[in-house]
């Protein structure tokens, strides 16, 4: 066991190495810029820059501490934390087995990819969401996942990272809901975003979006487990024209002056029906 005092000292450092360098460099620059301007705004700039520089030197960030974030030591409860759960109307054994079978762990970590049924993504604007995920986890996320341990019908713990230096560690747990209400499936994890100032900004401002993506992943899991399908309205008729694609059929152009309704949500990728065949999981345990 580690010496408790040493551990205490380590624990107070909550900013990762890469981020400390960025913080020091950006902070010093801001501080210098602020000092050259003799104005209240300049003073503010100098103070903020000074804080960033000190944070970079010391590795301790009071704001991270208040937010419970830690980008240096990633444990289940540090870093940027996400916790989401769902109740599925199935026994624990079925809930666990289905999770394993379809490899939801790898899937939920994967870069979000539009597929029919991802109504939440289409509501937000898929391109914006995809852009956000790229900032957060790196342009080519492809998580490398390592399972730390798995206890049948109880939990799976994992650790993962991307090429861009994003890391995550967490667990999915399965617990019987009271009164025969099925199984409570909970994902808890912490992550460090990609090693860039944009990555950290995205995480600091958009952790809710990450959490919502996890929630939607749990919803898809529940729906396929309970009903066998993922209810969707993509592909149904409306009086909106499909959004223009290359090689638009000229005959379909409405008369000039007529009001045009355009569907903005374009489906460009494989349909859900072909899941998981079209969408192989990035990782399989023990293979």
């Amino acid at each position: 066991m580690a010496n408790p005092i040493v551990k205490q000292k380590e624990a107070s450092v909550n900013v990762s190495r890469g981020e400390r360098w960025v913080s020091l460099a950006a902070g010093s620059a801001l501080a210098l810029l602020g000092l050259t301007r003799r104005s209240p705004a300049g003073a503010l700039l100098a103070a903020s820059g000074g804080y960033l520089a000190v944070r970079g030197l010391s590795g301790r960030c009071a704001i991270y501490q208040m937010a419970g974030a830690n980008t240096d030591h990633l444990e289940d409860n540090t870093g940027f934390a996400v916790e989401k759960s769902v109740t599925v109307n199935e026994p624990v054994e079925a809930a666990y087995a289905f999770w394993e079978e379809f490899d939801y762990l790898a899937r939920s970590l994967k870069q979000v990819k539009p597929s029919a049924g991802d109504e939440w993504e289409s509501g937000l604007g898929r391109r914006a969401l995809s852009r956000f995920n790229q900032l957060l986890f790196g342009p080519k996320p492809g998580w490398e996942v390592e399972v730390l341990d798995r206890r049948e019908n109880e939990r799976i713990r994992w650790r993962a990272h991307t090429d861009a230096g994003a890391e995550s560690q967490g667990a999915v747990t399965f617990q019987e809901a009271p009164g025969g209400r099925g199984t409570e499936v909970k994902i808890r994890f912490a992550y460090k975003p990609a090693r860039s100032i944009l990555g950290y900004t995205a995480a600091a401002l958009g952790n809710e979006i990450v959490a919502q993506q996890v929630k939607e992943e749990l919803r898809r899991y529940k729906r396929i487990l309970e009903t066998g399908v993922l209810p969707s309205i993509e592909g149904q008729p409306s009086a909106r024209r499909p959004a223009p694609v290359e090689e638009q059929d000229e005959g379909a152009e409405p008369a000039a002056g007529e009001k045009q309704l355009v569907d903005e949500d374009v489906v460009t990728e494989a349909s859900w029906e072909s899941f998981p065949a079209s969408d192989p999981p990035g990782w399989r345990d023990g293979e």
Binding site: T87, N89, A116, G117, E119, W120, G123, R181, G182, Q212, K215, E216, R219, K222, R223, E226, T227, G228, V229, L230, P231, S232, I233, E234, G235, Q236, P237, S238, A239, R240, K259, L261, D263, E273
Partner: protein, 389 residues
């Protein structure tokens, strides 16, 4: 195909749109034989339900013939004649197992949107805004029905379309509202609104053993229709102080249960109505709870307020103190249609009720814009429009 599309506030049009296709193995495609405009469609028409998109196909009361079934639908055959419940239910979640079909966990593809507004998401509904899933509706020649192995009811008796169409919504809705009153012998039930749902609630209240039913409205033909068909007592809310009259009619006790079959666009008289109308007009409240206030005020102590009328957002000046101190019970929500279709079909077959008595207008689908207009303006004695594609 032709379909009735929402193109903006007070703007519905019949448009040419692509035919629907099977999107899931549990889907079916129905060729619509008869469809109706619901009073709740007027909330969409008037722009009081958020998240409508221009071009959405309207309609949640419809029936027709099965023309295509997905590979997982084993209870329907091509050619079957079916009535389709307005709320879509998966049949396997906790809520469906509890027969709370309109609260289905899985049928709303835009659940995240409803969760932001309501905490949890109710079931998807045909043609009723993206908050309710954004499903294309049934005021069209064809419609795609998801979870077709759960919802649609096969009707192979000699009953006409008009006699069974309202099993899709308003008959079960009126019935569930009356059932929620837990009617005991001797009970007096007051029903606000003699539109289609109110009329069904009146019928159902008598079916369930109510001693007296008091109907409240101000539209002459609606009051007339309520009276023609039952031993109903009428109160005209423009001419009388409803709360006082109800108390007098029950020797001070108040009605044992009050059914609010009006919803978010209530009309009334006096200051509180003017207040509601003004606040709604400037978007400071989404719903007008005028009738709900009267019901709370009139209801007997320990009584039930049953609300089949549709509400969507927030209301103002809700007299919670009166409701609390009188120990009232509130029952409300979208109808669990699937639970009631079969028993209510039996009642129709046995001749206990013929729901087609409310139909005042039979029009082709092409006349939908006109139909919405006269229904909204209550012109030409319009109470219920059915349309044939």
């Amino acid at each position: 195909m032709k379909a009735v599309c929402w193109c903006g506030v007070n703007d519905v049009r019949v448009e040419r749109v692509p035919d629907p296709e099977l999107l899931d193995p549990r889907d079916a495609i129905i060729k619509v034989s008869l469809t109706a405009i619901c009073g709740s469609d007027l909330h969409l028409y008037n722009g009081f339900i958020p998240t409508m998109r221009e071009g959405d196909i309207l309609g949640h009361e419809f029936m027709g013939e099965v023309v295509e079934v997905g590979s997982d639908v084993d209870n329907l055959q091509i050619g079957d004649r079916v009535v389709v419940p307005f709320a879509i239910a998966c049949g396997s979640c906790y809520f469906c197992e509890e027969q709370l079909y309109s609260l289905c966990d899985n049928s709303n593809p835009k659940a995240w949107m409803a969760e932001k507004l309501y905490g949890q998401a109710p079931a998807g509904i045909f043609g009723y805004s993206h908050l309710m899933g954004g499903y294309a509706g049934g005021q069209a020649e064809y419609v795609r029905v998801p979870f077709a192995d759960v919802g649609p009811l096969k009707v192979d008796t000699g009953l006409s379309d008009e006699q069974v169409l309202f099993l899709s919504d308003i008959f079960p809705t009126g019935y569930m509202a009356a059932e929620a009153c837990a009617i005991k012998p001797g009970d007096t039930i007051a029903v606000w609104g003699c539109g289609p749902v109110g009329l069904m609630a009146i019928k159902s209240a008598f079916m369930l053993g109510a001693e007296r039913v008091i109907a409240i409205d101000r539209v002459p033909e609606r009051l007339q229709l309520a009276q023609l068909n039952d031993r109903v007592e009428l109160v005209h809310f423009d001419k009388e102080d409803v709360v006082e009259v109800l108390k007098e009619m029950t020797a001070g006790r108040g009605p044992d249960a009050c059914i609010e079959a009006v919803g978010m666009e209530a009309h009334g008289t006096g200051l509180d109505w003017a207040y509601d109308r003004a606040k709604q007009a400037v978007r400071m409240q989404t719903d007008r709870p005028t009738v709900l206030r009267h019901a709370i005020q009139a209801c007997r102590k320990g009584g039930v307020i049953s609300v089949p009328g549709v509400f969507g957002g927030v209301v103002d000046k809700f007299p919670l103190g009166a409701a609390f101190n009188k120990g009232l019970t509130f029952r409300m929500g979208q109808t669990h249609v699937q639970r009631y279709m079969r028993p209510l079909l039996e009642r129709i077959e046995q001749g206990e009720i013929d729901p087609s008595f409310i139909i005042t207008h039979r029009l082709p689908l092409d006349d939908a814009p006109h139909a919405y207009e006269i229904f909204e303006e209550k012109q030409d004695g319009c109470i219920k429009v059915v349309m044939q594609p």
